[in-house]
Amino acid sequence: MSEDQGRYRPLSYFQLMEVSLRELLVEKGILTEEAISEEVAAMRARTPERGARVVAKAWVDESFKQRLLKNGTAACEELGLEIPALKLVVVENTPQVHNVIVCTLCSCYPRVLLGIPPDWYKSRAYRSRMVREPRAVLAEFGLSLSERTAIRVHDSTADMRYLVLPMRPAGTAGWDEARLASLVTRDSMIGVALPAPA
């Protein structure tokens, strides 16, 4: 299962811990290998397209958007995205405010909507610098924002998970939801980028 391009490397401390714990859970009959494989497959199957659907719906349906901002979990369930354990807070970008998400303590991330987080999201550099110098970090992602736009960093420290609702790109009047969703990138829902231009 390891992705080491065929080269032998000894297991790291945490890899060894994961293997030991997994084998113990299976040996003691608490989990089965099949259940673990199914969960891994389900995790890999969740992609940012789920989040993009939510954003596109909010762009075309103002009352859905209001419900989404009020209670992100309940609004996602309207779309058939069951996320019962997740308390989803959706933060809306406007010309005055740009939102960006980080978890400085670990790597909390709305996996059910965005899938597996990118490695940089979990890196020490992103986690420490995004709260300290967000404008410099965003510029490194290619996003230079005017000082007239306030940057609102959200540190995902506890029970909430966050999704950025980007602004709908210009030139998309009359587009349907599926076409709009194709513009919504993972990074635009984390807040380190804008949606693709129309």
């Binding site: 308390k87 807070v89 709260v131 404008r135 609102r152 960093v153 540190d155 029970d159």
Partner: protein, 105 residues
Amino acid sequence: MQPQFVTRYPALSPTFDIGQRVRVRKTAPLGHIRTPFYIRGHVGEIERLCGSFPNPEELAQMRDGLPAQPLYRVRFRQKDVWPDYQGPENDTVDIEIYQHWLEKA
């Protein structure tokens, strides 16, 4: 004050209102703490009441974390948090903080 998410745990009553200025306790207990170190001692404003959730410091000790702690989002001005912050006055950082970490400012 209505929380954003209603939970069913037996919970403490919320003692802070939206817009109220609060200070994060400046203390460093051992254990699993969900209050980032960089924000301890700083003053911000209550942005919303998220709901009430079991205390993670207790959960980490295999206890039930009840009564649940009200959890707020607190908004801090970046210029208050980092004296040499490079950016405008209205840049902010919002952080979830449990009630027992907050006091009136």
